[in-house]
Subunit: 189 residues, 2 copies
Amino acid sequence: MTELEKGPQGARRGRGARERILSASQQLFPDQGINCTGVDQLCAVAEVSKRTLYQHFTGKDELIAEYLRRFDPDIMPGVFDRADLSPRERLLAVFDIHSSLCPFLRTSVELQDPGHAARILARDHKLAFARRLTEAAREAGATDPERLGEQLALLLDGASVRSRVLDADTFATAAAIASILVDNAIPTA
Amino acid sequence: MTELEKGPQGARRGRGARERILSASQQLFPDQGINCTGVDQLCAVAEVSKRTLYQHFTGKDELIAEYLRRFDPDIMPGVFDRADLSPRERLLAVFDIHSSLCPFLRTSVELQDPGHAARILARDHKLAFARRLTEAAREAGATDPERLGEQLALLLDGASVRSRVLDADTFATAAAIASILVDNAIPTA
DNA sequence: AGCTAAGTACACCGATCGGTACCGATTGGG
DNA sequence: CCCAATCGGTACCGATCGGTGTACTTAGCT
């Protein structure tokens, strides 16, 4: 009766194999990296046969792309639309997320082919994210919202990759910079 | 039989194999990544037999570490010691280097083991680099040199990794931020 | 000369990679 | 009830990975 999710291959009554595979990807890729995670291990964790995986995805490359696509819709869920915060606070709230290495950055570094679908997705994601920051900056009354958005995006990526190499929390530093930038970019602040 | 001597091996520059291996590493690792560069290809480019490589290095891991160690001594050659620049200009001159993805960042992302010698080296390098920035900030008269040094280091790493994913020059953005930070950190500016 | 260290060439190893073929069990819809 | 599609298990494929063993050739130094 309830029509479940529709797969490209017509998984009409899918037993959830596709979901389990994606779930396993989201569990293994961030921890072990993409290149260091084999298809066999992916199947083992997902409790899925290898054959099933290749019925849902043409190959590992497509799986990686779909794995990234899952992150896209919920960019920073509940940050940009918090009504309890002032526009300025909303700009800085992004830095409260003490995250690990951003999956899009990791993918862009690990994959070599610049034309790989996943790297295109990563690029699009970063552009979209900067756009959302720009939008928030405009609402906050920044004189040059686009510039401020790009600046804040760079701070986030810097903190993300730097936390990886230093094994320390670098988001506080980024937040401090962001605070200065916001103050400088918004008149009557 | 005194047949021809197996090709033009007579003029082989027998010595200096280690140097050629390291040179090949510096040529291949940045372009193809570390995990995607095999030992065989490394040997081919270095014009070195596989046996020779393993006589100079215990394994690929040690080669990676030594490859990184080569970058260490010449951090930003001729930037921190330019007498023709004011201390403030010296702080900002670092951002004129429109570099590609920092090898230390790339290594930290590609290698999974946090205890890998190369990742320790990368961490040490980043700490040392921030220290040099801190020193330069102190000479420039910053009120909190350590803080400014860490901030500038984060900006550089952010620009580096962001240039990778966006395939664009992001160092101008970082330089603009740096200029603001420096102005804010140095009194009587 | 003659010895030794360094380098080369090439075959080889076990492990793992991404990906495929086949087969039997399960399951839902007509 | 039967058909067709999905799924799991498993063995398998060729390629490549990092790393080794062996035998031969060279360069440098007394």
